[in-house]
């Protein structure tokens, strides 16, 4: 059976696409799945750094598309810790026009025969890079943060995906990951809440990631936060991975931490 091809996209930059790909990829690898992550942010590659796999890069996605390397396998970088986790890096020196949606489709079609999951890290924007990333995917994870411009862009992206879905019957309904939520701010009504965003975007929620300093530390270390047993964000990513695998996992309650309990006490809940 061919593997699942999932694109992680957002429209807006800096909302956590790459972090999401890195963590879901690592989480699936932890579950013994064979995973390849493709960075399509050509010219601004990041996924390799977030994954701590930069030093293993020899070829990239443009080399592969142009036939510079002998085989698809040769262009993949294998993770040192998880032997079933691979990365197809973006080229840093070229730009988005260096590959076409058709070339992406060819690459992905080949990869999905061998891997359980092909995760595509989409660049910000709605131009060529987006077309490349979306062309070959049959599932989409839309990442947003609780800020009005990000939600607006996510809405736009969902619309574009749904348009593409009309033409390509293999594409499925998109799902949402809400990143960097701060429950304390939502309570004070200083931040959009889960309900507000759900109401606007009207797609299925795959997961909620709380704001967590550990992510910054993990990103700089090149070690996805999902490997950190003490991180709330890591736990949230684990839940996302389980949901992707078809499990029903209840959404994390953000009031059960010490601060949450204290807050509830104060308010007589």
């Amino acid at each position: 059976m061919a593997g699942r091809v999932i694109v992680v996209t957002s429209g807006k930059g800096g909302v956590g696409k790459t972090t999401t790909v890195a963590n879901i990829g690592t989480g699936l690898a932890l579950q013994q799945k064979k995973v390849v992550m493709i960075d399509t942010d050509i010219g601004l590659r990041n996924l390799d750094v977030v994954m701590g796999m930069e030093s293993g890069i020899i070829y990239d996605v443009v080399d592969l598309a142009e036939g510079e390397c002998r085989s698809t396998r040769q262009s993949l970088v294998r993770n040192r810790r998880f032997k079933n986790l691979f990365l197809l890096p973006a080229s840093q020196t070229r730009n988005k026009d260096a590959i076409t949606p058709e070339q992406m489709r060819e690459i992905v079609d080949e990869l999905k025969e061998e891997f359980d999951y092909v995760l595509i890290d989409c660049p910000a924007g709605i131009e060529r890079g987006f077309d490349n990333a979306v062309a070959a995917a049959s599932e989409a994870i839309v990442v947003t943060i609780p800020e009005v411009p990000a939600v607006r862009d996510a809405d736009r992206i969902i619309g574009l995906w749904l348009n593409a879905k009309e033409k390509d019957k293999e594409k499925k309904e998109p799902v949402l990951v809400l990143n960097r939520l701060r429950p304390d701010m939502v309570r004070k009504e200083e931040m959009l809440g889960v309900d507000d965003i759900n109401h606007t975007l009207a797609i299925k929620l795959l997961g909620i990631i709380p704001e967590d300093e550990e992510i910054i530390i993990a990103t700089n270390k090149g070690e996805p936060v999902i490997l950190n047993q003490h991180s709330r964000a890591g736990e949230a990513f684990k839940n996302i991975v389980r949901r992707l695998e078809g499990e029903t996992v209840p959404f994390m309650s953000f009031d059960t931490g010490i601060i949450g309990r204290f807050w509830n006490m104060l308010h007589g809940k």
Partner: protein, 214 residues
């Protein structure tokens, strides 16, 4: 013209269609003309055997071609042994309309029913009324020459009576738009206006758009 602007963003391809007037090449209004020429060249190269030359029609919509752009297109087509019969076959249809009665009947009947969310960047247009079962999100636009009825929340832009009908109305379960337009009159949601639940109607009173409970 459902969501045409967003669709073409995804498919960077030119379309040839067989119209009554003949084989017609559609060149979208978005993006530069040079960009489309490049794509046309590629497409024709790939389909060399399909187009055996001949005279075609070219639909360019509202786009105005400079003499050099016109020349470029002509030269490119000539490369594949094609010539331009005429431009904008669709426009001509508009110039010789059908008999009046038929036209009138059609207008009355034209209601566009849309199920789903009108999302940011999407635009729903209809010469007639529009009924939406779903929300219109911020950044989404709905334009009708008649009334607009939204069985959901209006949070984007709605323009009713777009051809100047002052009697046009906008009805939604929640009216909290970025902007309302009826005919030529604009209105912005007053700052600090609380979102109200329950159906509301927007129509023109005097020279202003007012929003009231239905």
């Amino acid at each position: 013209m459902l969501l045409s602007a967003t669709k073409s963003l995804l498919s960077d391809q030119l379309v040839f269609k067989g119209l009554k007037q003949g084989l017609t090449l559609f060149i979208p209004e978005e993006k530069s003309f040079a960009h489309w020429l490049e794509i046309l060249d590629l497409q024709l190269k790939q389909a060399k055997n399909f187009f055996q030359g001949g005279a075609i029609l070219v639909e360019i919509g509202e786009r105005k071609l400079s003499p050099s752009e016109h020349g470029d297109l002509k030269r490119l087509l000539a490369k594949y042994r094609m010539t331009i019969k005429s431009f904008n076959p669709l426009e001509k249809k508009r110039f010789n309309p059908w008999p009046r009665e038929i036209q009138k009947k059609e207008k009355q009947a034209e209601v566009l029913f849309f199920k789903g969310t009108v999302r940011s960047g999407q635009r729903l247009e209809n010469d007639g009324h529009i009924v939406i079962k779903g929300d219109v999100n911020p950044g989404g636009e709905v334009v009708a020459s008649g009334d607009i009825i939204i069985l959901g929340a209006l949070r984007g832009i709605a323009h009713a009576g777009a051809r100047g009908n002052l009697q046009a109305e906008i009805i939604a379960l929640t009216i909290s738009p970025v902007q309302l337009r009826i005919a030529h009159i604009f209105s912005r949601t007053p700052e600090g206006r609380e979102e109200r639940q329950g159906p509301e109607i927007a129509h023109i009173k005097g020279e202003k758009i007012v929003v009231q409970r239905l």
